[in-house]
Symmetry: C2
Amino acid sequence: MSEILQKARRAKLVSRRVALLNSAVKNRALKTMARCLRENTAAILKANALDIKKAKKDRLAPALMDRLSLTAGRIKDMAVSLQDLAGLADPNNQILAKIKRPNGLDIEKISVPMGVIAVIYEARPNVTADAAGLCFKAGSAVILRGGSDAARSNKAIAAVLRESLRAERLPADIIQLVETAGRQTAAELMTLRQYIDLLVPRGGAGLIRRTVEESLVPVIETGTGNCHVYVDKYADLKKALAITINAKTQRPSVCNAAESLLVHKDAASRFLPAALPALRNAGVAIHGCAATRKYASYVLKASAEDYAREYLALEISIKVVKSIDEAIEHIHRYGTRHTEAIVTENRRNARRFLSEVDASAVLVNASTRFTDGGEFGFGCEIGISTQKLHARGPLGLKELMSYKYLVRGNGQIRQ
Amino acid sequence: MSEILQKARRAKLVSRRVALLNSAVKNRALKTMARCLRENTAAILKANALDIKKAKKDRLAPALMDRLSLTAGRIKDMAVSLQDLAGLADPNNQILAKIKRPNGLDIEKISVPMGVIAVIYEARPNVTADAAGLCFKAGSAVILRGGSDAARSNKAIAAVLRESLRAERLPADIIQLVETAGRQTAAELMTLRQYIDLLVPRGGAGLIRRTVEESLVPVIETGTGNCHVYVDKYADLKKALAITINAKTQRPSVCNAAESLLVHKDAASRFLPAALPALRNAGVAIHGCAATRKYASYVLKASAEDYAREYLALEISIKVVKSIDEAIEHIHRYGTRHTEAIVTENRRNARRFLSEVDASAVLVNASTRFTDGGEFGFGCEIGISTQKLHARGPLGLKELMSYKYLVRGNGQIRQ
């Protein structure tokens, strides 16, 4: 039997037990995990150093290298996240609805755990602790399949988490890490519909696409964000500038960063002469339409590909549009249904944008960077869903739950 | 361009319009559809007669023939369903949650339509009207792909529905029927993730399996029900008998009918001598374990396959179990997470069964036949989901919705 199949079967088995754990037991275990991570900082850093040594030899890209690198501070952050999880409300066993039927049947809709959640991710070892903690608090067993670059770090972190579970007299198999290297392990996970209830891919567009295409297990697609800021004719241009700069430059590598700026033609002559140098000063490469390029010589020519692209870097595409309709059409064509923002003081345009733009989050007069579990008050998240099924936007604890109906009768039969 | 691709693109286009229709407009259109169906009864019956003639020539199975056959009464039922839909609350644009953030951001989580829903179904032409009506009321465009046996009936019904939309000055393409025959049309639908937001297969286990395996479009798996009735040691045996007979025989061809009976050993000697002849008198073929077979000579020997089987007919498997634990284990092993019932007067056992049995609906002292959109008070349903993602149990209007976050600020940027 393969490692994957073995681990998936064990996960299914323990998932029944973790689903029934009460909040106090789960929270105590989360605190123990946090403490043990701190206590094992040296061992984790040692494992991480080996990963980094190998990554240097393999000439890993600097951005990946940064994601891979752990420090005592980053390990402490993981511990704090686990401790914070312990403080959040238990999402399990919540009454979502009550229905009383004329025939006397009492129906309760209650939240229940997914069962077994598999998370496929890339070079970031902190996902090992974050995803494990979230799934555990949500009452599910978890199978973690991290990238091979972080293999040793992930193994060290998972070992600490599993040891913490054992110390709390809980089955270590509630948290399992795939150790066999190679693409086929992810492919095998995707086939095990009878053992795995949900698959969450966390990573680049390639991983997401492959998961969606290959998986028989239900998937929540996360993370592709070609987000727009639309500066309306009626925008407060001071707000527009602050939002544009923040959305593009505050953290360009993440999915809720803005990739494209749309400017109403009547605002362009007032807005672009300020916005273009501000973007340039922030180190942003600018691709613009002909109307944009009139305002600055350093604006490169934007192609359709630029409008479709998720740069994830200090790079932006800009288009001057004739109307809010053209802005909405452009977003409909190029957007990825992640996050879209309008800057306007006009209520009617705000309302139109909110109702007509199809995205997980639509914002008025705020930076796209706010689409985030922490910023929404969820306390945590495992990713941002860009699909419409099950959950949209930040995936917090509630979004990792399923539900069932409890029906109580006194002998009712159907007529 | 293929018929499917053309229709999927048109559906995506009109989906934006139908999502914004107000309730009054949708309800009026539903009533017009109902009226037009009634007025076109003769034409629909004529088309149906051609399907039936062909089905007879093709020697279609009697059960399928029955599903295929329309009468004036069945057409009236379709019309009544559409009219009833007009009376239900609009599931769109409902505020699901409000979040006020310390930074002043106002977040609203509101229900929004899925967009484009594709429904793949088999020989029942009434699904054409039911599914179209449900998706329309839920604010989505729909692509219907019915079985080839019902091609002419479906075409006649869809034509009436589309004509009704036109009469209400709405785009007929809100409701589209696939007319090209052959399996490849379903296969093509399953690839169009960029145009179709949700795929609901309605039909036999083969169709469901194929859809789950092949579809790139998110699927809600419906309809496989290996449902159990467990008669506990502490059961009221009068209730147990009524529930067993009702769950098995009231409508054996549907997914919420019971397929298996589990009896606690301490109840067996009191319950089975009454239950076995009652089942036999109702025409039910019985497959039992050794302990069951002691009570009647006509009980056939049950194999593991019998316990796994969804008979969808007057046939049942029976097992005497040592304890509620064995009952729960058996259900875990053979159940399909659809509907499971316990008959007991013992509160602790009821509670254990409700919390430990993993199914869309778990019932105490009531027939499994109650897992149904109508019986739950939803007013309608498009199927019963047996997966944990998105929706579980009866899929009514609410379950066909997605959501989005509306975020209102006054210039907030992220720190």
